[in-house]
Amino acid sequence: MEEQNTPNSNEDNFFDKIDNTKPSVILKRLQLSRNNVIIAGVCSGLGEYLKIDIAKVRLVVLLSLLLGRWSIAVYLIAAALLPRESIGDYLSENDVSLMKKENNRTVFGGLLIFFGLYFGYELLGIRNSENIFNLPNGFIFPVIAIATGVYLFSVKEPKLLIENDNLTQRYFYKSRQDRLFLGVCGGLANYIKTDSFSIRIIIVIITLLTFGLFAIIYFAFTLLTKYEPESSFEFPQ
């Protein structure tokens, strides 16, 4: 019996060894993202690699432009050298639209902060100090523009996105659901297929810049347009 058991016990030992081995480590690689891309996917790749919120990485990269144009050069080099993620995550149409919305808000919010800080520099009188961090002007910027152009031209057309073309006629209505005051911004955002929060901020900024004159247009929209028709959904009986 012992002799017969010997090979079995060896097999058991073999499988025990396998079980006792350490779990295989999945190597994390710094690579360009395939799904979450605004320009080249460098920030999202870095965020996934470092396990940081991608929006925060994007904000930091955008604000680093205040210290000079080095970040553009580093970004382009990373975009050219890093490999592209081989298989992207499966994303539903809803996921894609939510991701786009978040990305748009990140960029828009980042740009507002960027310009706020940029004009704030001027007020505080520290604008000249940014030149310390700048690349030599006049030559590098055209090279960056050419490199970006060549990079964008070399990107192949991806074939993964599935999105229905909604070419049906849309009408402008004041929104019932997406309303903060009178529903004009929500309706406008729905009409031009963009984010209502960003539209609200833009309209407030334009109103401030035109010293309130733009508010007349807002109220004209309020008076001259209708609310969107109520949904005709009925509960099944």
Binding site: T106, L167, K193, I201, L209, L224
Partner: protein
């Protein structure tokens, strides 16, 4: 492959070409082969890009792109005007430009969908106001008003932008 995705991709190619062209012209300027100001070159590239994209995008249900391209086109014109003429009142110039650009955006939205008369009304009103702001009728009033407000809000303007930016960033997932 769907149509809008294909269109986005072609727009990127046009952007690539314009950036390449922009870089080459700036390098030529740097080597003194051509003698144009940066504003003229940038404005011309803006015009070129916006006209091509407008032609490609019009009537393709891409209103957000149309709006962006209209703003870019008028920014290009503003840059060319600033490069070739002396603008002695920059605050008034910004004020008039914002009104004119907003009006033009509404006019483009009306041309894209002529059933929406409200865009035509708003667009024409804004362009008329922008025109009136340059004439002598209200010029003095606008100048005084803009100077007063600008002096007051000049300090707070960056803070307002930063607060708006932070609020947009924090609300990005809502």
């Amino acid at each position: 492959m769907n149509r809008s995705h294909h269109l986005n991709f072609r727009n990127k190619k046009i952007l690539a070409l314009c950036l390449f062209l922009y870089g080459v012209i700036l390098l030529l300027r740097k080597s003194f082969l051509i003698n144009y100001s940066i504003e003229t070159i940038t404005g011309s590239v803006f015009l070129l890009y916006s006209i091509i994209i407008f032609y490609k995008t019009f009537n393709n249900n891409k209103r957000e792109v149309l709006i962006f391209v209209t703003i870019l086109f008028l920014t290009g014109i503003a840059l060319l005007v600033k490069a070739n003429f002396d603008v002695y009142d920059s605050r008034g110039f910004v004020f008039t430009s914002i009104l004119f650009v907003s009006g033009s955006v509404f006019i483009v939205l009306f041309i894209e969908n002529t059933k929406e008369k409200i865009f035509a009304v708003s667009g024409i009103s804004l362009i008329l106001i922008s025109y009136l702001s340059t004439t002598l009728v209200i010029k003095q009033y606008v100048l005084n008003f803009t100077n007063k407000i600008s002096n007051f809000s000049g300090f707070f303007w960056p803070i307002i932008l930063i607060i708006f930016g932070i609020s947009v960033f924090l609300n990005r997932k809502k």
